[in-house]
Amino acid sequence: MIRLSFRLLWVALAVGVLMSTNVFAQQPLKIGLILPMTGPMASTGRQVSAAVKLYIAEHGDVVAGRKIEVLLRDDTNAPETTKRFAQELVTNDHAEILAGFGLTPLAFAAAPIATAAKVPMIIMSAGTLIIPEKSPYILRTSFTLPQNTAPIAAWAPKHDIKKVFTLVTDYAPGIDSETTFKRVFTANGGQIVGEARVPAQNPDYAPFIQRAKDAKPDALFVFVPSGEGAAVMKQFAERGLARAGIKLIGPGDVTDDDILDSMGDAAIGTITSHFYSAAHPSAQNKAYVAAFEKANPGMRPNFMSVGGWDGMELIYEVLKKNNGSTDGDKFVAVAKGLSWASPRGKVTIDPRTRDIIQDVYMREVKRVGGHLYSVEFDRIPEVRPDGTY
């Protein structure tokens, strides 16, 4: 009788111990990854999701005792759909982290959900400055337009570019870029001889580039979303702007690594400032690019992909520090000030804005080993999200 009850006691003790250990540890940690996988921004979606997959393949899918499960959703570039998916992922699928967000309007739409559900929201792609203000749970690992624009705006007047025509896509990141460029460029002695905004839907660059040519600037400043650079380059070449002595400058979105190689000789000589080039000469980046190209034949990683890679790095690091907890407030608190080595260089999460501080490079498009790359020739360390350094 006593033996039986002892056994029962042991069993009860064992069960009790099992139950008291973090049951959490057995539950998979779901990350809702919302990206535009179809439609005009599909290349962004594919780059980011490829990078996320690669990260998990290389670092394993268990962090702090929890198994990571990524739930990928295609929001087809429609903010209404992004919001709906965010809502469903949080309430229906019990996602504990939201990530992705290929464009600013998509991030804006999902922000209220993150706030209401107190879920960390990692921006891996979008670039407008004020996005983190939309929710206290937003952290960004991609970039901001002012960050990428200020360096080129300061560089140009020092290198015989005094008159510039600006051409940007007419949506928040484009306006961010235009505003930053105008401010910094004129502060350094430059003169804006004309400006144009191209509609975000169905853009046709030909008339705008023609207008730019007619204004006879020293350089044409361009910002267009990732993937549109080819169209701009085509018109730039066709209308003979290079021959007329007009240079092409801008943040690196126009020389997107995803399509740079197929732009042809017209792209050679384009000077941009950006936070990532596939040609960045660090050992870590070389390994990254090689692994990425191996896992995705025919695809070269671009700046969108590192946003995805570093987003996962951030998630993993914070999870390790928090023992697997995804409590929104704790997550953000730990993430603030976190710094690590990324394929792009060193990055830090700004404690004040929850945005990303990173090095920005001056690059020029050159042909290296038969392929086109943006080759870095200067580095501006630790540029803040608002473009100051």
Partner: protein, 287 residues
């Protein structure tokens, strides 16, 4: 200013080539082929593959870009489209949209979702500087000439050949035409094939100007419909005039009043349709 005009005309010429097939299909077969853009896209991708992967010179790609969609059109027409000629227009819409979706996803799968970039042969690159304020892009000049020749050729075929007169008869009244011994089915098949082939040719020529990606059929569907609606069906001149007007207003609108660029063409279209509901050269439908 002249550059803008010239650009607009070149754009219009390309649009004419692309939309003519749709106009013919609608006019003869009374079939709303919303998948027309898919054939254009097919021609474009065929040209890209030939140019980029197999290094075939650009000019030789063009005939292939015509033939492949033409054959595809022929096969599809005989096998599935023909069964829907008597169907409700709404069912035709559903069917053709199904084809569009399937073709867009297929293109995305095989060719990726980014804009396709090709290198034009050197003799087609660059610009002529005619005078101050007027630069003529060589490729656009080529485009203009090419489309003009095709328009002329088609007009002659339509007006001066037996095939053409049979076609016009079928447009006017299919039943009587059949009663007269005209093989309307074969006519439909050939015209559909040609319309698709022309679209494919337009798609190939347009890679440089319009940007080719899997979303192409939907992106430009609106333009095609505008050309067909404003230009009317049954003639070559109607869609040509409509395409030219559309092209000029589009380019000029974006250049001069870029704040509301696209608004201009839609307003122009609505005004033209209210003024002449049957299209520019179309005849009033016999109810």
């Amino acid at each position: 200013m002249l550059t803008v005009l010239f650009d607009g005309i070149a754009s219009g010429g390309l649009l004419f080539l692309l939309a003519l097939g749709l106009s013919i299909t609608l006019g003869i077969m009374n079939f709303v082929n919303l998948a027309h853009g898919a054939f254009a896209m097919l021609g474009g991708y065929v040209a890209v593959v030939l140019l980029n992967r197999w290094g075939v010179p650009f000019l030789y790609c063009l005939p292939v870009a015509f033939v492949v969609p033409a054959l595809a059109g022929l096969v599809l027409e005989r096998t599935i489209y023909a069964r829907l000629y008597n169907a409700n227009p709404l069912d035709q819409v559903l069917f053709t949209i199904g084809i569009v979706f399937a073709s867009m996803a297929t293109a995305s799968y095989f060719m990726g979702s980014q804009h396709q970039i090709i290198q034009l042969p050197p003799f087609l690159q660059g610009q002529y500087h005619v005078m101050a304020g007027f630069d003529v892009g060589i490729y656009r000049l080529f485009l203009l000439g090419f489309c003009g020749l095709i328009a002329l050729f088609l007009h002659l075929v339509l007006m001066r050949t037996r095939f053409g007169s049979r076609l016009r008869a079928a447009v006017d009244n299919g039943r009587i035409a059949q009663g007269l011994g005209i093989n309307v089915n074969r006519l439909f098949a050939i015209t559909f094939a040609m319309g698709s082939g022309l679209a494919g040719l337009g798609g190939a020529l347009g890679i440089e100007i319009l940007n080719l990606d899997p979303v192409f059929p939907v992106k430009f569907l609106v333009y095609f419909l505008i050309v067909v609606a404003v230009g009317g069906t049954g003639t070559v001149g109607g869609p040509l005039a409509a395409a030219l007007i559309l092209g000029i207003f589009d380019v000029a609108g974006k250049y001069y009043v870029s704040q509301i660029g696209a608004f201009v063409i839609y307003a122009v279209m609505v005004i033209m349709l209210i003024w002449r509901p049957q299209g520019l050269f179309g005849r009033r439908a016999v109810d």
